[in-house]
């Protein structure tokens, strides 16, 4: 592992991503959690650039840092949060057990990947990345692509139907 620019870029991006995730767990206000998450998403976009997936990096910034974060903010601001969720007294033991479980899971997976190394195969992913994705999407994966559009349409219609205000029943509560 030599000290190159790629290594420094990876380390700083990974650090920002992990710090964003830890802040997500530790901050108390919901808005602050979402803002911490934006750091993680943008860092992951940088990781994608390092992995020669420029198109995915742009998609990550647009979809996650833009659209999904704004939608989460709408979800937060359309609901009311009382008292910044005071932690229950009896939940400490449960949280500790969950923490141990998650750490155990992480350790088990880490033992599987820590010395993983494949032989270097030269690839051309960085040349015309978007064109390669487009060619692959419309030649090999055309049926999943169309199914994705059906899923998005169904999600759009379902979201509108679910979140629509029922005028006769709910009008007097507001």
């Amino acid at each position: 592992m030599t000290l190159t620019g790629e290594f420094f870029a990876f380390m700083s991006l990974a650090l920002v991503a992990v710090i964003g995730g830890v802040l997500l767990l530790n901050l108390t206000k919901v808005i602050h959690m979402v803002v911490a998450l934006v750091f993680t998403f943008v860092s992951i976009a940088g990781i994608y650039v390092l992995l020669s997936a420029e198109f995915l990096a742009v998609i990550q910034v647009m979809i996650y840092s833009g659209a999904i974060t704004i939608m989460m903010l709408f979800g937060i601001m359309l609901t009311r949060h009382h008292g910044d969720e005071a932690e229950p007294k009896g939940g400490i033991l449960r949280k500790l057990a969950l923490l141990l479980g998650v750490i155990g899971f992480g350790a088990a997976v880490y033992f599987g990947i820590y010395d993983l190394n494949f032989e270097a195969v030269p690839n051309t992913l960085h040349e015309n990345n978007t064109e390669q994705i487009g060619v692959s999407l419309f030649s090999h994966y055309i049926i999943p692509f169309e199914l994705t559009s059906v899923i998005l349409l169904a999600a759009l219609v379902g979201a509108i139907v679910l979140a629509r205000r029922d005028d006769d029943k709910e009008g007097d509560q507001e």
Partner: protein
């Protein structure tokens, strides 16, 4: 080839996945649970893109799959938030402990 080993990318994805898992299991606010699930999906996407470049057989397929995963995650957020707002309108709560209508 690269100065960053494959296991470093996979370890970063593992750490983010564990953070998301812990958040999804412990947080009481439903919006934060949804956000934690997004974090886990992002970790999986990092794995897909890593294997797309440094795997045994590098190809563009991993990136295409990550694209599908992002699209499905966006749809999931839309429906999840719609369910959240609908529940909030009926029950006046976003606390995930109190969403127990299916229990009775």
């Amino acid at each position: 080839m690269s100065s960053v080993p494959v296991s470093a990318y996979l370890a970063l994805a593992l750490i983010l996945f564990c953070i998301g898992l812990y958040g999804a299991l412990t947080k009481k606010n439903t919006v934060i649970v949804l956000i934690s699930i997004e974090l886990m999906l992002n970790a999986v996407n990092i794995n897909l893109v890593t294997f797309s470049k440094y795997g045994v057989n590098p190809s563009i397929t991993g990136q295409v799959f990550a694209l599908f995963s992002i699209a499905v995650a966006a749809a999931e957020v839309a429906v999840g938030l719609a369910i959240l707002i609908s529940l909030y309108r009926n029950r006046r709560t976003v606390n995930i402990d109190e969403m127990d209508q299916l229990k009775n």
